[in-house]
């Protein structure tokens, strides 16, 4: 559906300040988990039932021999046709008509987690081992239905994250990609027709995160 909302994540403006990662924890009252430094700035190592947003760090060398450091602030894509919903028969997972937000209800504890996870092209759903409830980004449904923008979008200083009506976001995305192509010929928006959370990258998505464009 073309209505509803979208989030644009323009990685060409991201500085990895992790305001989004912590802002999500703050708003959703999620705990900080135990982590170790395994040789990267990236932490936690993965999404979990307690981490809905994680900034991925990837580095390497460009063709011109200069280093690059890519930041990919990962979260649920809120797909238009959510693959996770295939396993859901009794509205354990719902897609809100007005906003397009894909929401896991507490009833997800009755779902086959493995099947649900496999259904997701982006490796997003996670399960609480105790309660078996599944969780992920909610698009800050409670905020966006109360005149507020998602916590992550709000915290973003550079405008790397933007939120608004889907058709307008698609428009901004298209224009930005055209602009970026002048300096970065490989710039693309990732699967803009399929997802509500649209990432713009300036290089092969795999140089950001292995699942950036899907598994």
């Amino acid at each position: 559906m073309a209505e509803g909302y979208s989030i644009l994540v323009d990685t060409s403006k991201c500085t990895a300040c992790r305001g989004c990662q912590v802002g999500c924890k703050q708003w959703n009252e999620l705990p900080g988990t135990q982590t170790k430094n395994v040789g990267s700035y990236e932490n936690p190592q993965d999404l979990s039932f307690e981490t809905y947003k994680v900034v991925r760090f990837a580095e390497g060398s460009n063709g011109d021999g200069k280093p690059y450091w890519n930041f990919f602030s990962e979260q649920c894509r809120h797909c238009l046709s959510p693959g996770c919903m295939a396993a859901s028969e009794k509205d354990e997972i719902v897609q809100d008509e007005k906003t397009g937000a894909v929401l896991f209800t507490p009833e997800t504890k009755n779902l086959d987690f493995k099947a649900t996870l496999e259904g997701c092209p982006y490796n997003i759903p996670r399960q609480d081992p105790k309660t078996k409830v599944l969780s992920k980004c909610t698009m800050c449904f409670d905020r966006i239905t109360n005149g507020m923008i998602p916590a992550c979008v709000k915290s973003c200083p550079t405008g790397a994250m933007q939120f608004g009506e889907r058709d307008k976001v698609l428009d901004v995305s298209k224009k930005r990609v055209e602009e970026l192509k002048k300096t970065f010929p490989k710039a693309i928006a990732i699967n803009p027709d399929d997802v509500r959370v649209i990432y713009i990258v300036t290089n092969d998505p795999k140089t950001y995160w292995k699942f950036a464009a899907g598994k």
Partner: protein
Amino acid sequence: MTNHWIDLRNSDCILVMGSNAAANHPISMKWVQKAKDNGAKLISVDPRFTQTSARADIYAALRSGSDIAFLGGMIKYIIDNDKYFKDYVVNYTNASFIPVEKYNFDDGLFSGYDPKTRKYDSSFWAIKKDSAGIPERDITLQNPGCVFQLLKKHYSRYTPEKVSEITGTPINDLTKVYETYAATGTKDKAGTIMYAMGWTQHTVGVQNIRTMAIIQLLLGNMGIAGGGVNALRGESNVQGSTDQGLLFHILPGYLRMPTSNLATLEAYNKAITPKTADPMSANWPQNLPKYSVSLLKSFWGDKATIENDFGYGWLPKPDLGRNYSWLNLFDEMYEGKIKGFFAWGQNPACSGANANKVRQALAKLDWLVNVNIFDNETGSFWKGPGMDPKKIKTEVFMLPCAASIEKEGSIANSGRWVQWRYKAVEAPGKAKPDGEILTELMIEIRKLYKKGGKFPDPILNLKWDYTDDHGDFDAHKVAKELNGFFLKDVTIQDKQFKKGDPVPAFGFLQADGSTSCGNWIYCQSYNADGNNMARRKKDDPTGLGLYPQWSWCWPVNRRIIYNRASVDLDGQPWNPARPLLKWVDGKWVGDVPDGPWPPMSDSKNGKYPFIMKPDGLGAIFGPGLADGPFPEHYEPLECPVPANLMSGQFVNPTVKIFKGEMDKHLTCDPRFPFVGTTYRVTEHWQTGIMTRWQPWLVEAAPQMFVELSEELAKLRGINNGDKVKVSTIRGEVDCVAIVTTRFRPFKMGDLTVHQVGMPWCFGWMVPKDGGESANLLTPNVGDPNTMIPESKAFMVNITKA
């Protein structure tokens, strides 16, 4: 900052050097991005490719400690390629001045150096003055003895080849940076510099900044929107704490601390008041006695009278020429000469360079008072690693204080905006706002001194009434004192004021004891209009993002200082598209002008733009510093090369070298063959003592690490994620290795020099397995002007643990 945060968006070229703004001043990138959206170029110059570099249009690597070489090359480029803004340079800077004949520079030393005292006699750098006492000038800038030609000669040695060999930056990269930045030398372009501790934490720290100030003056970037020299201050209120004079050498408002040789107020006021014979120089510091007397009235209230020199004698006097700053303080403490210590909202056990020395020094105290919101390595030093509590006699008082949201008051950001903030909740448990704690402590001390004791006068005469009717600390009362009051009915400039009225602005302060003012630069912050610091209006008449009615900034709400340099001699903006200031119908429109006088073309009343300098002009030649009027490249105290390629003078010849058992340093030694540096991460704050207690932040940055190049990792057999040990002659720290493409070895002629870097946000207390402080490694040697330690460049070894 001469400018401010939002103003960054007005820039055409932003150089981030000596700073990783994206990581350490993250929200500044909002305005950097806006500048980029408008076509501006972002340049990142850093030994390591950082988050800032990831967003930069141009990245150039340089070895830590070689910034003057890099920038000296830019000065040469600007002059050789005629990129400087001629009208600006001739009219607004001292480029046309002529230093005295005995000024000279040879093989790394300026004339006037005494190797015994390791000090310069700055009379060798004096400026020639005519019979009227006005500096002689050569406005053609052709006289070989004029500042401009001396500048050209000095930096003629900074060729791209020489610079590249010193910095390890490829010549192509140097040229790219120079070309791009020097393009801001035209009237319609603005270039700005964002710098921080990457420049100040060196034995040539101040000269690093001076080199950039010279570049900005050459390019006409001072005083304009999108230009300036922007120091990104470190802490939420370090601007305020410096403004309020919490450093040994200054009183509030940057008045010099009176020294032992100045026995009377008259002698003091004479010493701090510069003179000029040039009627076109405003020489604003000639007003300083009004501010010093008003300050004394704030200290002592009615007890300060003209008969007792306004209480001048009650101020303690440091000895002239003696330095009581941080490095000397801890040296004295280590020697057992300091018995009592207040570590108030600070964690020196982790923030002090050569932290082992600091920790051992703490153990020699008789008593320590530690005020903080969390437990920390300083207050608990006695149970730290290597400490035997049984042997430590220090009595320690840990006082719990309020966090920022548990009290009301103002803080000054780096852009000099003094913003009021409010109390949301009471402090938890027994914690109290610092204002309460210090009020109660002084009341108790005064009680004791009422019964007798050594020289009780200053203690008993101190005005100490900053409480409300309930006896609670009242921030508004202090704020009003900082603004200042009239102490009797007066008429000034045709305006009538009554005793007790707030002073409208510092132009009204008097030297006769009729006004009090805690801090002249804060005068106007809380006047008859109310608490200007609490304003929240979003009007922006110039469209340049000044927001003149959002909070209040010093001085007198002037948002961009030196703004008289943003216009031509007739008062018209150099760049009409960015009208910061404009002379229209006999008055200034735009920002608060740097003084009300008409433009310079008014030969009777016009004034030069740099009103805080006695000569009124921007200093390209700067004779007031300890280590020279022109910046010169010297190697860091601990460096990787056997000689300084620029001259025979290896290290800054005026630095103090500590010689105690704990003051070890070593250069060009095979045991410590790599350059080490320290920096920060977004997720932790300074020593980490606030953030290491917070689960969300520890989750994101859990452990001490060291970043090193793939090449160095190979050399040492280190894989990404391995546990390693980084050591200097002073200490060692365990780290997780981050092997990265973002550090590359520096090719410096025939030498290959490796560099590593670490954050200094960890400490033994928390989290478990978090790691220790990088300051266990850093050297306690400081810049000769500021004594800021050289934490950014020292020599280390790295091995698998």
